[in-house]
Symmetry: C2
Subunit: 397 residues, 2 copies
Amino acid sequence: MHPNPQRFLDSLHALRAIGAVGTGVVRPAYSDKDIEARKWLAGQFRDAGLAPYFDPVGNLFGLAGDGPSLLMGSHSDTQPEGGWLDGAYGVMAALEVARAAKEAGGPAVSVVSFQDEEGRYGVTTGSTVWAGGRSLEDADGLTASDGSTYAQGRARMADLVSGGFLDPARFTGFIEAHIEQGPYLDTAQEQVGVVTSIVGIRDMRITLTGQSNHAGTTPMHLRRDAFQGLADFNRKLNDRLRNVVRPETVWTIGHVSLHPNGSSIVPGRVTFSMQWRDGESDRLARMETIIRETAAEVAAERGLGLEFGRMLGLEPVTMDDRLQQALAEAAEAEAPGKWRRMPSGALHDTTNVARHMPVAMLFVPSIGGVSHNFEEDTREEDLVVGLNVLARAVAAL
Amino acid sequence: MHPNPQRFLDSLHALRAIGAVGTGVVRPAYSDKDIEARKWLAGQFRDAGLAPYFDPVGNLFGLAGDGPSLLMGSHSDTQPEGGWLDGAYGVMAALEVARAAKEAGGPAVSVVSFQDEEGRYGVTTGSTVWAGGRSLEDADGLTASDGSTYAQGRARMADLVSGGFLDPARFTGFIEAHIEQGPYLDTAQEQVGVVTSIVGIRDMRITLTGQSNHAGTTPMHLRRDAFQGLADFNRKLNDRLRNVVRPETVWTIGHVSLHPNGSSIVPGRVTFSMQWRDGESDRLARMETIIRETAAEVAAERGLGLEFGRMLGLEPVTMDDRLQQALAEAAEAEAPGKWRRMPSGALHDTTNVARHMPVAMLFVPSIGGVSHNFEEDTREEDLVVGLNVLARAVAAL
């Protein structure tokens, strides 16, 4: 079974061109560019002898016949300002492996590009709904920061839908290749990471409501300043989490929206995102308790209203031993001494697919550990080594 | 000289109706509603025998003949979500006093509604440019938070301009009536405040630049999180300012803009507003030093880029003794024992006009001290007492 590196790289760059902005890509879920990319992918699947299938939320499958097959892939939607490899690498590597398998009369390999992995409306929304982690009715109510709903998003590609949701039972397993999006492989000058587990994630919006008022005539001691409430919450939270976290635990306030957001007005309201990740469910739960208690304490101290949004989350997931072993042996053959087993700090569609079948993941290095950023990149030789490891593992399975 | 309370209240409510939203008003500088209100005001001036005059930035005057006259007024633009009396009270009270003066054959009283007092593009921009505090060329470069320039804003009413800037020398003095926008008069159940001085203000944008990166795979110790930089700056600043401020000193972070502002991305950049006010220039300067040093320190500690925007500011101003005394005597006559002398924590157009003529200000209470808010309100009897104090003082001058 012999994948074609040049054909693979050409396809990868062709996808990159759709929504390209400088060195990066802007192709958020259900945007014109995202839909254009999925139509192009469907054509690529057809050319490779795979039957394109769009499910009701826009997950795009390339099916290797009606019988059982191994599923491989990732996602082709991007962050608002995304890199060119995040998701795209796993989809195009899967396509090349499927091509090579067909050419070699090897195992049946189907390909998938899940929709809204980057969480414009939720967290890995497309694979979550497909895997039954959230009902479609429930997901339809999710809103993006621009106020649009998931229902409105998926309606933009309703004309492409092939039919209902595919039965996961038709797939014998799932392998997702992805860039590491972290600094570990690059720092160690290694080429491949065989994932052992994926960390769990919790994400919710928190709103603090005070009183917007004149910034010149309202004495400091009479203010109910929502931004000061947020800053106070952030400081207390950082102090308190130190007691429960591990070095690999992360937490982030990435979105902040002040109201009315004028320089001469004491902020009356702030809505912000609170996201935290760790490999252990217990720790995630302990962190949630501290977050809720700290917010309640700050709100009470400052006379602020407090509202918690719905909490989105995914549990930590362990990779399948057999698939993981096949990837490890292929890694040692293709990149002897230059690979490692490692957990994934990033969330992936694999987390959801694991509800229905054995799963595994393969990482290639991210230069400087940079991702979710226009500068995101990986050395071409590492992209190809990753492809070869995948092909070798699939042939061995 | 006898002002007509009902005629005054009717005019005030007629102005309120232009851009009314619930109990509040949305009439930001150069918006359709702001321009509509100024056209309506010009008609009111004409009916009162005052000659309407729009200057190049949209400041609207109602001139009592070509000879010397006393200027009275305030502004008719509002905050993005403004109250119905902020600015409007001073303009309509001035108009009623001008009407009463004409009817009684009293002193010549001209009226003005300055443009962009609320600082959509700067700080009291219209009166600043008229008074020569900033060149028109310079002001044209100011931008609003929606990215539009002052030049684009004033171009929206270019068709109304009557001619060049009026010579301030034609006016013998300026009196501005305004709601207090603070809690002092209302708390003390007093009806009138005679202003002794107006605090100075400093306002600038600060930008901290780090590295936007994946919120799941970037270890906490490797992050250059711009929001964490802002929170750290805010905490250190609050601690350090305690040593130089007085109870009446205020400082505010009212505008915050994160980039890219996604819940799964470590924030790579934050731009925020830093505004501070006090009655003494020396203290304002000491605060500026602490603000700049603290920002530089936080940026250095966290490896963040730091950029200070242009600093807008106005110096503290003392009211004219003679005008102030006339208002004080009228206040004692109209509201015996229910008035006080007090500083203004809010900035007003009077600050700029003071460069060219004697100035004074009169306050009426704000219920609950609430302002820059739809709930802003004042008891009707207090609105009328303020009107009567103005008329009596003008007659006595």
